[in-house]
């Protein structure tokens, strides 16, 4: 099987996995809420709106039929009507997703820029006190709960020193006609600093430790000995030969991290009142806004799956030693 076939196979796997997750989610929610109309009534929609919702989502039909309507709606990008906002879920979620990415991407970028460099340093200093301190430091960064570091940052920089805003994405009220408009300001950058560093510090440890471990592994390989025999300087070997090869797992981990970050840093958005996907989901849970919570979760799960697949493909693409095959033994 060739590369193309492998990719095709991974993509089909991705779709099937996602369908299974959708199915699990559907039945999980029906288990919790056998009659979604009851929730709609409670939420005070008018009789016409109720009838409309009921028809659109086929809530009066048998469960199996509902399931297929649910799938069809999903394919058509019809995510449902938010109980809370009383409007379509999808546009709201897209905006929240953008906000989340506007926070997560810069943070991950910073941590994956600095982390590997520190990892190289650690592996170079193997056995020294620097490495000792570095490992403990790295593990501590990963151990400190990210919401807690966020709170400490707010206390220090937001309250005590009062130099940085601590909540939201922009100073209210503001006007922005598009998403790009929203982030192309200094105000956004000021709001970004604290949550971004909170997340970056948390994510820093993983690429650092991965980099160090892979570096150590590669240093044991034969071609490094060859380099030493050739008389190359230590620095050159480290950066040009070892580090370059060791970057591979870091890159794939970066892809996985991006997928996870969208759903995984709910707490940071809560602490900094960042109007992102995770915070929206928490609010949806609090207000029992089932369609919103369900769709937000689907979006997060979808992103994780896509980024995991990307990581897999990236690995195969970057590492010439990996032979992509269709999965048959």
């Amino acid at each position: 099987m060739g590369k193309g076939q492998y990719i095709a196979k991974r993509l089909i796997q991705l779709v099937i996995t996602f369908l299974i997750i959708l199915t699990i989610l559907f039945f999980l929610f029906r288990l919790a809420l056998p009659d979604p109309t009851a929730a709609l009534v409670m939420d005070g929609l008018s009789a016409e709106e109720q009838a409309m919702v009921r028809e659109r989502f086929g809530l009066d039909r048998p469960l199996v039929e509902q399931y297929f309507i649910y799938l069809r709606n999903f394919m058509q990008g019809e995510f449902g009507l938010s109980f809370h906002y009383k409007s379509a879920v999808f546009p709201i979620l897209m905006e929240k997703l953008f906000n989340t990415l506007a926070l997560m991407l810069p943070a991950i970028f910073i941590s994956y820029l600095i982390g590997p460099l520190l990892g190289v340093l650690l592996s170079w200093k193997r056995g020294s006190n620097t490495e000792f301190a570095g490992i403990i430091g790295g593990l501590t960064l990963r151990s400190a709960p990210v919401f807690w570091t966020g709170m400490i940052f707010i206390m220090i920089f937001g309250i005590r020193m009062g130099i940085l805003p601590t909540s939201g994405m922009r100073t209210l009220p503001y006007e922005a006609t598009s998403n790009l408009d929203k982030i192309m300001t200094l105000d956004y950058l000021r709001h970004l600093i604290l949550p971004m560093f909170t997340i970056a510090i948390y994510y820093l440890g993983l690429p650092m430790l991965i980099m160090r471990n892979t570096m150590l592994e590669i240093m044991g390989e034969d071609f490094i000995e060859l380099c030493q025999a050739k008389g190359l300087s230590e620095r050159k070997i480290m950066y040009k030969h070892v580090a370059r090869n060791a970057l591979l797992p870091v890159v794939t981990q970066a892809a996985i991290t991006i997928g996870l970050a969208v759903g995984g840093q709910v707490v940071v958005e809560v602490v900094f009142s960042w109007p992102g996907l995770g915070r929206e989901m928490i609010q949806a849970v609090r207000t029992s806004d089932f369609p919103m919570a369900q769709s937000a979760f689907m979006m997060m799960a979808g992103l994780v799956l896509v980024m995991n697949t990307v990581a897999d493909l990236l690995y195969g693409y970057l590492d010439p030693r990996v032979v992509l095959k269709g999965g048959d033994k």
Binding site: T17, L28, I136, L139, G264, V266, V285
Partner: protein, 600 residues
């Protein structure tokens, strides 16, 4: 007999490798300096969890109270100032004179000042509580328990006066240096003639609480069980037209006699009795707590105060509740020479106190001891961490072993399930579970257990895949051992060290996950965990300044997770033997593996 012993030996033979493999990880941990640090820290945390009830200095649910003597000044226009703390003791009475002000408190404390001056504190012994105070110009009297009455001599010292009673003196009223009255428990009424105290027969045995005069021969005394006594022209008389209702049999604690046609008495359970010159009748203010003091400011302005910050205003017709200035308990109110005070603050909730010797980590906005909460939180964290890690390992190892052993379609199917699991982000999944079920620790454990076994399964599977190819497994198979036997007796011992590593990794994640979910308010509210402590700190809004509420739980989480990570890191040599030595003497690995602890 011999046969049985052989059977036992046989069994020991099987268990020995298993035991060795259980001990091996501990050896590795102890050998690694970082692993040692982790093991020591974790042991301390475990000890804290075991001895949490001993280490906790307070009941974590208890609202800790604090006692302070403070006054809230007000003027004739009804302008309230903010409270002033006079001392550490609850004030029992404040007396206002033309030049001097006097306050008395429990445990023999007297505070005195010139008007607008600083308070001078006198400590006259620990045993006796002072209950009453009165000032006329520079004649100052203090009454207390056991019939104690003191006056201040010219030197400024307090001198005891002889009294014919051992009962508590509850109130004093001074007309001049030669004329004063004292009332107390068991119907005691004393009169002062400038030289001696003499007892007057009151005709009652009930405790008398307060006395109020409009002139030297017209006064009212109130006391327990609805006692009201008019003192007129040297005679005591019970009011003739008193209406006997339930309310009139409650203890009356204070009275204010303004003029012949106006007097008000208040008492427990918000009892109010109004005198219109002929008759006493009960009135209802809508308040429910005990009223401890009442005072007339003018004909149509009366204040009554009581427990939990109750302040009532009466305009001659209606009672109106005034917004509470504090939630403290008031013991009395006084007004004279255009100066008024609410005083005698009883215990109040010690909220948001900074760390001190009594509260190591300070208190919450409800006056709860944070140190004790953190101690109990250790239990929750470890319990969730250990149970979740066991669940994760059990599922992960079983799935991994079955997949690796049988391979083929079973392996494929199981690994697809693992793929699905990788598509479910942990926190959002737990949030969904909480939306569907009730928040509880088991939901958190379930969420962690259901999702994070995926990494374990993959790692164990790869280990089993290589084990199956080893000669001893093949030999066992040729010898006709069943699949179950091979898996349990030959494979399990060999994956135990790895499982142990994964146990440590999973525990670290579980503790963080529990803290995170609890912080989001998805944990059970009645159980203390480090996450819920931070959650309530955030919910109260006080966390922005109350650093002592935020820092300790976070440090405990970090330190615990770091210790577990250090342990799991020292165990990494199990999966990657190359890490065993230094850079120069890295031994050749038996079989190359690429097992990175995966981000959950």
């Amino acid at each position: 007999m011999a046969k049985e012993r052989k059977g036992l030996k046989e069994r020991i033979k099987y268990f020995k490798p298993m035991l060795m493999n259980i001990i091996e990880p501990f050896k590795i941990i102890v050998k690694d300096p970082l692993g040692r640090i982790g093991a020591v820290i974790l042991s301390i945390i475990i000890l804290i969890a075991i001895f949490a009830p001993v280490l906790a200095t307070h009941n974590p649910n208890l609202m800790n109270e604090r006692i302070e003597g403070s006054i809230i000044p007000f003027d004739e226009d009804g302008n309230w100032s903010s409270y002033q703390i006079i001392g550490e003791r609850p004030l029992n009475e404040v007396a206002v004179g033309q030049e001097y002000e006097l306050a008395v408190a429990d445990h023999g404390f007297i505070y005195e000042r010139e008007v607008d001056g600083d308070w001078i504190e006198y400590e006259l012994g620990q045993e006796v509580n002072f209950l009453a105070a009165a000032v006329y110009q520079d004649f100052k009297l203090v009454g207390g328990e056991n019939g104690l009455i003191l006056f201040q001599n010219e030197a400024g010292n307090w001198e005891q006066l002889e009294t014919p009673t051992d009962d508590n003196i509850n109130d004093l009223y001074v007309f001049s240096a030669d004329s004063a009255y004292a009332i107390g428990d068991n119907g005691i009424i004393l009169s002062w003639d400038g030289q001696d105290w003499s007892q007057i027969d009151s005709g009652t045995q009930r405790h008398l609480r307060e006395i109020s005069f409009i002139s030297s021969d017209d006064g009212i005394i109130v006391g327990d069980r609805g006692t009201i006594i008019h003192y007129r022209d040297g005679e005591f008389q019970e009011p003739a037209f008193r209406s006997f209702t339930d309310a009139t049999f409650r203890d009356l604690l204070a009275v204010s006699y303004y003029n012949e046609n106006q007097a008000i008495a208040v008492g427990e359970r918000a009892t109010i009795m109004v005198y219109d010159g002929e008759e006493w009748y009960t009135d209802d203010s809508g308040a429910s707590r005990s009223l401890n003091g009442v005072i007339h400011i003018s004909e149509d302005e009366v204040y009554a105060i009581g427990l939990r910050g109750t302040i009532l205003r009466y305009d001659g017709e209606n009672w109106e509740t005034i917004d509470r200035i504090t939630r403290r308990d008031y013991r009395g109110i006084t007004y004279s020479h255009n100066r008024g005070y609410i005083y005698g603050v009883e215990p109040y909730v010690n909220e948001l106190a900074a760390p001190s010797g009594d509260h190591f980590f300070g208190t919450t906005h409800l006056g709860r001891d944070i140190w004790s909460q953190v101690m109990y939180g250790t239990r929750t964290a470890l319990m969730v961490g250990i149970i979740a890690a066991l669940v994760v390992n059990l599922i992960g190892a079983t799935v991994g072993m079955i997949a690796g052993y049988y391979r083929g379609n079973i392996d494929n199917a199981l690994m697809r399930i693992v793929d699905i699991m990788y598509g479910l982000p942990l926190e959002p999944f737990a949030i969904i579970l909480v939306l569907i079920f009730e928040p509880s620790l088991w939901i958190i454990i379930m969420a962690i257990g259901l999702l994070t076994w995926r990494t374990n399964a993959r790692i164990i599977r790869s280990q089993v895949l290589s084990l199956v190819e080893r000669p001893f497994i093949k030999a066992a198979r040729v010898a006709g051992a069943s699949d179950l036997r091979i898996m349990l007796i030959h494979i399990t011992p060999n994956i135990l060290p790895l499982a142990f590593l994964q146990l440590a990794v999973a525990m670290g994640y579980a503790i963080t996950a529990e803290a995170t979910l609890s912080f989001l308010g998805l944990g059970p509210p009645q159980i203390y965990s480090w996450g819920t402590i931070l959650h309530s700190a955030r919910l109260s809004g006080a966390w922005r300044t109350a650093w002592w509420w935020v820092i300790p739980p976070g440090i405990f989480i970090s330190v615990t997770v770091v210790s577990v990570f250090l342990i799991s890191r020292s165990l990494e040599v199990l999966t990657n033997p190359r890490l065993r030595g230094g850079r120069d003497n890295a031994p050749e690995p038996e079989e190359p593996k690429n097992v990175l602890p995966n981000e959950q």
